[in-house]
């Protein structure tokens, strides 16, 4: 990342609590225009939460998020809406509108925010669905397609208006290897051909190394490592190595409970004093 370019997205000192439990502590990130940043981290570490804070869905308990130099957290509803028209989000669940067909889902942002007539919208919808390989499914309802397909429709909807920043929450989880590869290539193409800036949350190391310009690993509410894919191929940090190589034993435990397993089973439930 060069210091001279004005960052398109900046996260500064973001903290987030849920019911007194701190999920994010002091997150800092600068993203340059056209860059693809991959956020890695074990399940439940707060990746989706970070994404929701960045896109203005959750207010952070401390810190700020700037997009195009504008503070997302304190923006008025009108300004926030104007920002939102310039970025796209793929939700982890796809979040398709269940009462609309696949085609209508993709068409909705265009119908709502542009004056394009129906024929052009129809064409754009077909083009976007073709990009994710689902052109034939335009007239099905979200409940009639598979989970992986729903995610791809969500992606088609996110790119419908050609946003300048794209946020992907696990774009490839639940997809087969071929679809994973196609979506990965699509993310790369959006960047190289259209200069789209992307923030990609994923578990998938292979895609991360392939598509990321920079990779950041989130653990314990902080970025414990930020670096190039090269850095992540030969990690120095033990936690990063464990994650990258997918080892069961290491500094990152699978279980994060604070109570003793045995006493919990027996119904005593005392905090484990060791």
């Amino acid at each position: 990342m060069s210091e001279t370019v004005e960052p398109i997205l900046e996260v500064r000192g973001v903290q987030k609590f849920f019911d007194g439990r701190q999920v994010l502590k002091d997150i800092n990130l600068m993203v340059a225009p056209g860059e693809t940043v991959v956020v890695l981290g074990p399940s439940g570490c707060g990746k989706s939460t970070l994404l929701r804070v960045i896109i203005g869905e959750h207010a952070p308990d401390a810190g700020h998020v700037y997009m195009w130099g504008e503070d997302v957290c304190c923006a008025s509803a009108e300004r926030l809406d104007r920002l939102r028209q310039r970025f796209g989000v793929l939700f982890q669940s796809g979040a398709l509108y269940s009462s609309m067909t696949v085609g209508e889902n993709v068409a909705l942002p265009l119908r709502e925010h542009t004056d394009l007539d129906d024929q052009i919208i129809e064409m754009v919808v077909k083009m976007k669905l073709e990009l994710v390989g689902l052109r034939d499914f335009e007239n099905l309802m979200p409940s009639q397609i598979s989970g992986g397909m729903r995610k791809r429709v969500g992606l088609a909807r996110a790119i419908a208006r050609d946003p300048q920043i794209l946020f992907y929450d696990e774009p490839t989880s639940g997809l087969d290897p071929i679809a994973t590869s196609v979506i990965g290539q699509l993310i790369i193409d959006l960047r190289t051909k259209l200069g789209v800036t992307s923030i990609v949350v994923t578990h998938d190391m292979k895609s991360a190394l392939r598509i990321g310009d920079r990779i950041a690993m989130l653990y314990g509410g902080e970025f414990i490592a930020v670096g190039t894919p090269e850095d992540f191929r030969n990690p120095t940090d033990e936690r990063v190595r464990q994650f990258v190589e997918g080892l069961a034993d290491g500094p990152i435990p699978l279980r994060v409970s604070k109570t003793n397993y045995l006493s919990d089973l027996l119904g005593v439930g005392q905090p484990d004093g060791q």
Partner: protein, 269 residues
């Protein structure tokens, strides 16, 4: 009762009252937001979605027509059976149409139409919006810069108010006719005479207050159910709770508002 438990009781009541105030505040806030978006949608783009509003009118209101028809017919007949003996004791059986229409048009018509509609429209709206919250559809709308209030709530509000008023008209006519049916079949009152008595004894106030109340009840139903639906947390269980709550709370608020408005119209009109 000991002093401490009395204090605890007061605290409990206080907390409940505070909860109620917060709830009403939430409803009021949503109502203001809806009004703002409705007026904005009337004068500027993006306009109110006419096709969506029409679709919601059909979905929420038209399906309730048969059940409201049946309910009001039975209520009118019941009224006739109940009032006829009393009236004939006083030798006033020819006033039956007056009494029934004066009970139905300002009171029973709007009240029963909106209570039935609570079960139809209110429950449907709360469940639908709640499911959309759980499926992150509302969040997806917001992040696409589509305001859920404008896009989802405003069409439902307009549809629900219009349909409640329309169904009130239906309920009024059918209820009075139900009374007339019993009058004709059982009491040997000429239908034409029943009809003319009813028409002549109704004054504008009876009809107008009934329709105004119908509109207000429709507003209560739709605001409560949208509020319940949009504030769902915690999956399918939350959706179920919101559906139940929207029905129970709407009916309670409708009956409260009915009392308040009846008193108001008694004094000022």
């Amino acid at each position: 009762m000991s002093a401490t438990s009395f204090v605890r009781l007061l605290e409990r009541v206080g907390a409940q009252g505070e909860g109620l105030l917060a709830y009403l505040g939430g409803l009021g806030y949503l109502a203001l937001d809806v009004l703002k978006h409705t007026f904005a949608g009337l004068v500027t783009r993006p306009r109110i979605k006419a096709d969506e509003t029409f679709f919601q009118m059909v979905r929420l209101g038209v399906r309730a027509v048969p059940i409201i028809f049946l309910v009001q017919l039975l209520v009118g007949m019941t009224l006739s059976f109940t009032l006829a003996p009393v009236l004939s004791d006083y030798g006033q059986l020819d006033k039956l149409a007056t009494v029934i229409s004066k009970a139905v048009f300002p009171q029973l018509g709007p009240l029963l139409a909106s209570v039935v509609l609570t079960g139809f429209a209110g429950a449907a709206i709360a469940a639908e919006l709640g499911t959309m919250v759980v499926g992150e559809e509302i969040a997806a709308l917001r992040t696409s810069a589509i305001q859920p209030i404008r896009f989802l709530v405003v069409p439902r509000v307009i549809a629900c108010i219009l349909m409640t008023v329309a169904l009130t008209v239906l309920a009024n006519v059918v209820g009075t006719a139900g009374g007339g049916l019993v009058a004709y079949l059982v009491l040997d009152i000429d239908p034409w005479q029943y009809y003319h008595t009813a028409i002549n004894s109704l004054i504008i106030k009876d009809v107008a207050t009934g329709l105004i109340k119908g509109g207000i009840f429709g507003f209560i139903i739709v605001i409560v159910s949208c509020y319940e639906g949009l504030s769902v947390t915690g999956g399918a269980g939350g959706v179920g709770r919101a559906t139940t709550n929207s029905v129970v709370r709407s009916i309670f608020l409708i009956i409260t508002a009915n009392c308040a408005f009846t008193a108001l119209f008694y004094f000022v009109w």
